[in-house]
Every structure is written in structure tokens, then in C-alpha cells.
Symmetry: C2
Subunit: 188 residues, 2 copies
Amino acid sequence: MSRWEPDARGRLEKAALDLYSERGYEQTTAAQIAERAGLTERTFFRHYADKREVLFGGSQALEQAFVDTLADTPHTAAPIDAMATTLETVAAFFLERHEHSRQRQAVIAANAELRERELIKLASLSAALTATLHRRGLKDPAATLTAEAGITVFKVGFDRWVGGNGDRPLADFLRESLKELKTVAAGG
Amino acid sequence: MSRWEPDARGRLEKAALDLYSERGYEQTTAAQIAERAGLTERTFFRHYADKREVLFGGSQALEQAFVDTLADTPHTAAPIDAMATTLETVAAFFLERHEHSRQRQAVIAANAELRERELIKLASLSAALTATLHRRGLKDPAATLTAEAGITVFKVGFDRWVGGNGDRPLADFLRESLKELKTVAAGG
């Protein structure tokens, strides 16, 4: 096998999601993922620490994108509007990722350990957004509530997007979920 | 030791929280908890499956209280108002429990495994509230958003209550947090 492996990471990710979907996450090994991708197991471990990291390797980048975008929104904006802008910007990361996201979500839903890992990821994201809002000068409880509202909107909008056929972008679903949260909070 | 052990469960719980606070959760054994409570290890295991259950043994009762109260609120009430009533009713469970809740929260905050368990508890509570709202005829995403809003208000209000000196009841903090969430969502 050539040492030059074009998009090895992407190929491993696709092979992993396909195998997790076909035979289950527990039943899949790193060696099988590498084989499906036409790569060696050694190459797998150059890109991922373990088979779980294939599903969560992007979490840190997503959190950083959330934090950077939120920090960059004009400080004059109302916190919930800064959050709306952030959600819209982060949604761009998921363009062309509908099928990938759908597969990933199904794998996670089927496994308790992965569901827990996803909860931890979202709790970490919420804490990072709260800290960013503190740095913008927002006090608590407003900062925590704004961050939690953002995470709720993201979760609900993301689930609805993943459950659909992918013909509308994630940003639309996030916008609708925020609007609905506002209605719910207002007693509608 | 007499076989009649008045309030063994409460004594074990208090002994456990004291030991977890003094020497750390990991360093405490069921035998030590029983000894501190003046009871046998066998009595400990009659009341709790393990030392973690001392901290989470009440989760199921709390979830049931949330679900029953929410199901019983008038169906004519706006969902967020039904949630407000539910939070207020459930807060009564924590009367005279400020010091207990403060100790428990500190023990959980200090241990990653317990923090994860707490996240799972809240996710389970959110799913149960969503299901209850579905049974009231509320559709998604409004049902999920109302449930998540309720959990957020509970978390934020609870943290602030625990962080205070306990001279005001939890219900006050939950009411204030809900009011603040409404302000945040409205763009205040």
C-alpha cells in the first residue's frame, strides 16, 4: 500500500459509520474499519485514538467554532441575538453533511455509552458558551440561561434536520426552533 | 445491634454525605458509611445497592413527582405555565433539604463519573416531561422545547439556591430563573 493515502481520515470516517450502521458499534473493530477503507490498521490509529473518536473527533472543533463565533458577534447585540447569529454560522459546518449526521445520530441513539458521551459533549459546549458570555460582560443567571437556550435550540433543530430528508439546510431548522422557543417562553 | 433501626436509610444517607465530603467519594466504602451511621454493612445493602445509589436513590421519585404534577395541571394552561406550576410543586420536596442538597452537589461536582450520572438523570427527566406534554396533546417541537426549558430553569435555579445560605426556598429561585429565561428569550 502506498504511503500516500488521499483523504485517509474521511475514508476511515465513512467506513466506520457504514460498519457501525450495518453491524452495530460494539461489533465493529478498528481493523475492520481500516480494511473497509482500504487502509491499514496502523493508518487508522494515526488518525483516531479509538473507534469512539471517529464519532467525537469533531467535537472540539465544533465547540471552538461556537466559542469563536459567539465571541466575535457585536457586543451591542442582545445575548439571544448573538446566540442566533452563532447558531446560523455554525450550521454552515453541516452543509453536505446531512447523510453523515443522520448515520452518526442513529449510531449514537442505539448505544447508551455513546448517548452519555454526547450528553457530556453538549454540557461541555454549554459551559464554554456560558464562559464566553461572561467574557462579553453578561452576568449570571442570564449567561447560563442564554447558553442553555442556545444548546436546546441546537439539539432540537439538529434532531429535526436529521429526521428530515436534507433538502433544507440546518440553519433553517435552528432559526425555526429559536422562534418556537421564544413562543413557548412567552406562553404561546 | 438491635434489629430495629429507626430511620436507617436517613442515617446512612447523612453518614455517606458527611464521609464523601470529608474524605472524598472514591475513598469512602459502604462499610465505613455503615460504621459512621452505627449500623451494619448488611443494613447498608438492605437500603442501597451501592455507594452511588445513596446520591441517586431519590432520582426516580423526583422524576415521578415531576411527571405526576405536570400531568395534573389544568390542560387549559399554557405549557410554560403548567411547567411553572410543576416546578413550584416539586420545589416543596426540597424544604429542609438545603444543607443536604449543598453537600450532595459539592460531592457530585468533584467527581466526573457522578457528574455524568447527573447529566443522565436530567436527560431522563427531560424525556419524561416531553412524553407527559405529548400526552397532554402538545406537539413537537413545542413539547421538547417546553421540557428542556423546564429542566434549564430547574438546573439554574437549583444551583443558585444551593449556592445561597438557604434562607429563601427553592421555589423562589425557580420562579426567578423562569422569569429571567423569559426575559432572555425575548431579547432582554
